[in-house]
Amino acid sequence: MTSNASGRRNLTFISRRSPYGSGYAKACLDMVLSAAVFDQNVTLVFMDEGVLQLLPNQQAGNIHAKDLSAALAALPLYDVDKVYAEQDSLTRRGLLPDQLAIEVMLCHADKIAEIIRQSDVVFTL
């Protein structure tokens, strides 16, 4: 581990599940926000089905679930500004980058590989 004296570590979260089919997406987002509260250097990456969390106009109340995309909007308030979405995952699901619920940085697998290598801990959920 390469944590510095302040205990600040590079934590990467790869969120790769759809928002309401399981509890993973919410768990991942909760972990991201918790880590951010503890002043960790957080990177969040959406890939595979995870990019479906970025769809706008989610009305999760209709299925008695909490709206995940509303929580995503809180990321900047927690100073989580390194938020990426894999371009290929978006494309395969017919999602356009300019029609997402929040602003994300688009990336390819090479960038994700680089992020992993620069991380102290990687969570995939």
Binding site: I14, D48, A109, I116, R117, D120, V122, T124
Partner: protein, 102 residues
């Protein structure tokens, strides 16, 4: 700064292995565990199909998961080796990060 990737499902049922191969880089290790061991026969083709170079990667299976499912260690392709649970720990220690694809 290399990474240990574990994969625990068959590529015919999930995109886990495909996603893993997309971000695995030279020096990394892919360890097939649980139902991931069924990938031993398809790993090479899957990698080739997505332009992934396997030669720079170390490919392993967890021996107990392999034999428990009726696959034989001596039937593994040359580029895949079997490790026991101690070997699993050793791999986790040998790489800076572990990424669990599940």
């Amino acid at each position: 700064m290399t990474t240990l990737h574990t994969v625990n499902k068959h590529s015919l049922n999930s995109d886990l292995l495909s996603s893993c191969l997309r971000v695995a880089r030279a020096g990394d290790c892919i360890l097939l565990i649980e139902d991931g061991i069924y990938n031993v026969r398809t790993l090479e083709d899957l990698a080739a199909g997505q332009g992934c170079e396997l030669s720079g990667l170390q490919c392993c299976v967890l021996r107990d998961d392999l034999t428990a499912r009726g696959l034989a260690e001596n039937a593994l392709p040359d580029f895949i080796s079997a490790v026991d649970h101690t070997g699993f720990v050793a791999l986790a220690c040998a790489h800076r990060q572990s990424v669990h694809w599940f």
